[in-house]
Subunit: 121 residues, 2 copies
DNA sequence: TCAAAGCATGAATATATGTTCATATTTTAA
DNA sequence: TTAAAATATGAACATATATTCATGCTTTGA
């Protein structure tokens, strides 16, 4: 391993220049990383996961979701807004009701990979 | 659709009983949902994502990561602790340095699915 | 057209979380 | 064995976020 440069981070010539070059060359852009973090953040909440998983089984109106989640309508609507803005769900109006469903084929895939992970560990 | 029961959530007979039965029957347990949320939460931070992506390219010591991330050592170590506790990374000591690497084959898979999602949207 | 149902949303609050600062721990070189 | 380097960690602080409360909007039935 090469230790060619002195850097602020460590006090000696410890940093691995080749590794850093390789990582820097292949790293994701800030924009992509931030978008990706925002995307995963949506899955990082139990309420939203339950909504997504429920919608993977059936289309549901807000009322249905409130009943299923055992939460009040405002809380559910706020989370639905987050999911809408992340384009993970879509909706259609039918009379006074609004029916939500999944809007992306990656969602179930991601949840499945996550499930596989926690099952195996 | 059947509207058989009156529920607190909505003021009329709007809730869809069949849908709810089906969703309740197939829903994930609270434990699994919470574990899954904790798992995804780890991916929902740009710093941690950058670390994971970097480690998918090369094994790195803390010093390397500080330099790559442009962050101080304490902040990096705190995030490494989160990643260790989630069992997403492992480490080995070599002298004074500690080298981190990925500890799970699902990590790259999940990041790839996420990337595919944000690219297509 | 008007009241009520279903849903959305802004503000407020409580809690969670990321970073910094100071310091502790472990290892090696002298 | 002792000082310094590399890393870890507890506490503090600032920010982000989930839920609640109050209220607004849209649609339908009377």
């Amino acid at each position: 391993m090469n230790n060619e440069e002195k850097l602020d981070v460590c006090m000696d010539f410890i940093v691995h220049r080749e590794t850093l070059d390789s990582v820097n060359k292949n790293a994701l852009s800030d924009d992509v990383v931030n978008e990706l973090a925002e995307f995963f953040k949506v899955f990082g909440d139990a309420t939203r996961l339950r909504i997504l998983y429920a919608l993977s089984i059936a289309e549901m109106c807000v009322c249905d979701l409130c009943e299923f989640l055992g939460m009040n309508q405002s809380a559910v609507s706020h989370q639905l807004k987050v999911l809408r803005q992340s384009r993970l769900i879509k909706y259609r109006r039918e009379g006074r009701n609004i029916y939500y469903s999944l809007d992306d084929e990656h969602i179930q895939q991601i949840i499945q990979v996550g499930l596989k992970h926690i099952m195996e560990k």
